[in-house]
Symmetry: C2
Amino acid sequence: MNVPVIVPPGVAFLNGHFTAENIITKTTRSGDLVGVFQDDAAWRALPADTPIYQVEMLQSPQGEGELFVGTTHLNPGRVGDEFYMTRGHFHQRREQGEVYFGLRGSGLLLLQSEQGEARLEQVSPGSVHIIPGNTAHRLINTGSEVLSALAVWPTIAGHDYASLAQGFKQRVFLREGKIQAKEVQNG
Amino acid sequence: MNVPVIVPPGVAFLNGHFTAENIITKTTRSGDLVGVFQDDAAWRALPADTPIYQVEMLQSPQGEGELFVGTTHLNPGRVGDEFYMTRGHFHQRREQGEVYFGLRGSGLLLLQSEQGEARLEQVSPGSVHIIPGNTAHRLINTGSEVLSALAVWPTIAGHDYASLAQGFKQRVFLREGKIQAKEVQNG
């Protein structure tokens, strides 16, 4: 080419890892997930520095209308018989949606409306999850390898964890060798 | 599973085709692209029903904060010595950004600010293009196969073609066997 051409960041669709100059990463460890798992004794038995998931993000301009791109890598494992999962959140700007693309591994996306109605979507390589506004979302790894999901969301969305302090209305366990979901009272 | 699990839409990352019950598709043909290519005689010589690109989209809830997911499939070819390209647009809601993921083929993403500054990003499988707000965008297929790019954008963004009636500030040609970009006066 006779004019400069920008080489943009890249993503490996097989595992969701980015190539870029400045990648933002944040690891969430067992000790960060106070009150998230049902079996408190099993959670206390796990070393607090056990990595549960990592979010890898590209730099974005921030502001009204701008979009973030990131991948969540959720490790396989269980706390007691409950599968590893992300904390999950509503967006602070409630009406803001998000899109997830399943890339690697297998799991579930737990969605919950503000009225407390919960539903589960199957996450697998190539799955597309259009998360509407006003909907809390949590990833759950029901498989034996890392669950990686690529996401796009508005930079102004923000996170609201407080509204879910009582937990989601569904929990997912491995019981009798089977993946089982259970409705619970306020988590 | 002992509770219902939703099987969401899927996308084949190799070619950007979706699996879902209701896919929205729109084909843009040569005859729709009045005034887009520089070589008017070559454009007139092309049958008006020649397909140039197709957009394939998933259904989304619409409204403030909601997101669309779609793939653009841009055919290989030239009008005279200028490569096939999409019409390109600003968003009607100027501040709304968009994200493109290159999936298949090779090409360029032409970006242009409201001040008329143009730049080119290389599109290839796995390339990630975070298009900021206030930035017009056009895909150009410089390769010999279909160029497919997956996109996520706000449902409220809208399209503004009128502000680009005079064209983008860069045109991309195959000349002397080489891909060449040229700055032009008002397209």
